[in-house]
């Protein structure tokens, strides 16, 4: 290592991880959309996508009742006979974790994820954010979705960003961590790639990097998903450490989800085509996935009111 100090090394972060050409990567991901997924491949893709959903409600008006109904949908997204799997997790605010745990019980494969760390802005003292993480884990959260300190990142204080992530890792204990980069605020693909590496270097195998809070204008896109998948691939091939990925926000249709999965298949390969390594942060997506599965089964296009309501936060 050439750098004389860890701080100096971080200053060279961008040189080290390399750049991304915006037009080139957007042309690349446009090709994923031309993949034609039919028949058995479509059913496999739709079911896999269901199993990857972090079914989410993140609203000021969330109540224990709303969370309980969300949990029911997570456990059984549709008629049992359709063979739709359970979703990966429910995702709620920290105050709702205990209600989710109550609704799901302790003997369930559906996990509880919670957006801690002063979500979505992250603008609270570190001490407060860490306390929130610990409280959510104590209430039964299996997974913590944190936000990075975008202000520090854009100010070039990479050390601070990374130290905070490391502190949250510790606070998580056994809980899985998902690091939200909030890509729309990082703005460029170069920043997204650099921030991905910053996080991956201090999180654990199986922890996630995640695109967005869903609370800003632009959320997950095929472009920023691709930048992060490529970062995960390069980091894995370099270190052997598999990092998981979660695009969140803006993925509303089954067709979109399948296109994201094509990106996973062609960038990271088969080992990432499962819900340990890939998730969708979404709410309305689930209904469309189920609807398309029903259509594949019956051959008839389905009216939306055949499917139970889902939370509409994002």
């Amino acid at each position: 290592m050439l750098a004389r100090s860890p701080q100096a090394a971080l200053q060279r972060l961008f040189d080290e991880v390399g750049s991304v050409d915006q037009v080139g990567i957007e042309e690349r991901v446009a090709k994923y959309g031309t993949r034609s997924i039919k028949k058995g491949a479509k059913i496999w893709g739709l079911k896999t996508a269901v199993s990857m959903v972090d079914l989410t409600t993140l609203e000021g008006k969330d109540t224990p009742g709303k969370v309980a109904s969300l949990c029911q949908k997570a456990l059984q997204p549709h008629d049992a006979e359709l063979g739709v799997p359970q979703v990966a997790a429910v995702c709620v605010y920290p105050a709702m974790v205990k209600h989710a745990r109550k609704a799901l019980g302790s003997d369930t494969a559906v996990r509880i994820a919670s957006v801690a760390t002063a979500f979505p802005s992250g603008q609270a003292p570190l001490k407060t954010r860490l306390a929130e993480v610990k409280a959510a884990v104590a209430d039964g959260a299996d997974e913590i979705d944190m936000v990075i300190n975008r202000g520090a990142f854009l100010a070039g204080e990479f050390g601070e960003v990374q130290d905070e992530i490391a502190a949250v890792v510790t606070a998580c204990g056994d809980a899985t961590l998902k690091v939200i980069l909030e890509v729309s605020e990082l703005e460029t693909y170069d920043n997204i790639r650099a921030a991905s590496f910053l996080a991956m270097r201090v999180i654990r195998p199986g922890d996630f990097i995640k695109t967005s809070t869903g609370k800003t204008s632009l959320n997950a896109t095929l472009g920023n998903n691709q930048v992060m998948l490529e970062a995960i691939r390069d980091f894995y091939l370099d270190t052997g450490i598999p990092i998981a990925m979660k695009p969140a926000g803006g993925i509303r249709t089954a067709k979109q989800a399948l296109t994201f999965l094509v990106a996973v298949k062609e960038t990271l390969g088969d080992a990432w085509l499962n819900n340990n390594r890939y998730r969708f942060g979404a709410s309305s997506l689930l209904n469309d996935l189920v609807r398309q599965l029903e259509k594949e089964k019956t051959g008839a296009y389905q009216a939306p009111y055949y499917f139970s309501e889902a939370a509409e936060s994002y």
């Binding site: 050409d21 915006q22 037009v23 080139g24 957007e26 703005e187 460029t188």
Partner: protein, 288 residues
């Protein structure tokens, strides 16, 4: 006894130096009244080869000059000829032109150089393009000189025609190997002396004298010559085009059997510059 004048030994101007043919051959040149005037170098294929090498050496540096600088050098060449217009006119009258016609040809030659001197930093703006492609790319087409251009000058208007073929080529940064009129080579000999006192780097323009039939096949087949601008007869056109095919050489062949008015405005054009240009289109994404 009157003083015997010192006569000049005509030499060709190649690579910035005055040389005799490597073959040591010469042919006698007579003046309009049929009197022996001087021996002219009878250049060979090897002289042509050497001239191409000189042009190749000079090419990159010439092409890299700024357009402004090339313009000033062409202008300077005009100044040099203007200042020695009388001497040049004498060289033309040697072939039978009247003094008035010769003076007119010299003046037109100077004007032609001034015309092209002014183009050096403008043709790109007329001939190049920015292309509005239907994708997020900045796309532009610029010109580049082709490289070494072979010129074969006609016998009529031996100075003006020669310059009319050479000037558009060097305007853009090409270098030239030119074969002067066989019947009236002397203006090219004098031109070499004026080139030498202009600021034109040696090797940018190389002037040969001699016989077409001895050199035309080498002009045709030398693969380092990237284009030929010539005024030639049907047989020569065919020979040049056949040889050009071997290396996909560009040819701009005017018919010797047609009359060309080298004094006309149409004898000078930005499209003559274009004839010895390549067009290069560059794409680059527009993104952040």
């Amino acid at each position: 006894m009157p003083r015997l004048p010192i006569t000049k030994t005509p030499k060709v101007y190649v690579g910035g130096a005055f040389i005799r043919s490597e073959s040591a051959r010469v042919f006698p040149l007579k003046d309009a009244s049929g009197e022996f005037f001087a021996n002219i170098p009878q250049c060979t294929r090897k002289d042509l080869r050497n001239a191409v090498e000189a042009a190749a050496k000079a090419g990159p540096g010439w092409a890299k000059r700024t357009a402004y600088n090339r313009g000033q050098i062409l202008y300077r060449l005009g100044e040099m000829i203007e200042a020695r217009a009388g001497e040049m006119a004498d060289a033309i009258t040697l072939g039978g032109a009247t003094p008035a016609a010769a003076a007119r040809e010299v003046a037109a030659t100077v004007d032609r150089l001034i015309y092209y001197a002014g183009w050096t930093d403008k043709y790109e703006q007329v001939l190049g393009n920015v292309n509005p492609v239907a994708a997020p790319y900045f796309n532009f087409t610029v010109t580049e000189p082709m490289g070494i251009i072979g010129v074969i000058a006609p016998d009529a208007s031996p100075l003006l025609a020669l310059i009319s073929l050479i000037a558009p080529a060097i305007t853009s940064g090409n270098t030239v190997v030119a074969l002067a009129s066989t019947t009236q080579p002397y203006p090219a000999i004098v031109l070499g002396e004026m080139l030498a006192t202009s600021d034109l780097p040696g090797g940018v323009v190389n002037l040969l004298t001699g016989f077409r039939k001895e050199m035309i096949s080498t002009f045709a087949t030398h693969t380092h010559l990237r284009a030929i601008s010539a005024v030639v007869n049907a047989e020569e056109r065919k020979a040049l085009a056949l040889g050009a095919a071997d290396s996909v050489k560009r040819t701009h062949l005017l018919k010797a059997e047609e009359k060309h008015d080298w004094f006309a405005d149409t004898a000078q054009s930005v499209y003559a510059i274009r004839d010895t240009l390549e067009f290069k289109t560059t794409w680059h994404p527009v993104g952040a």
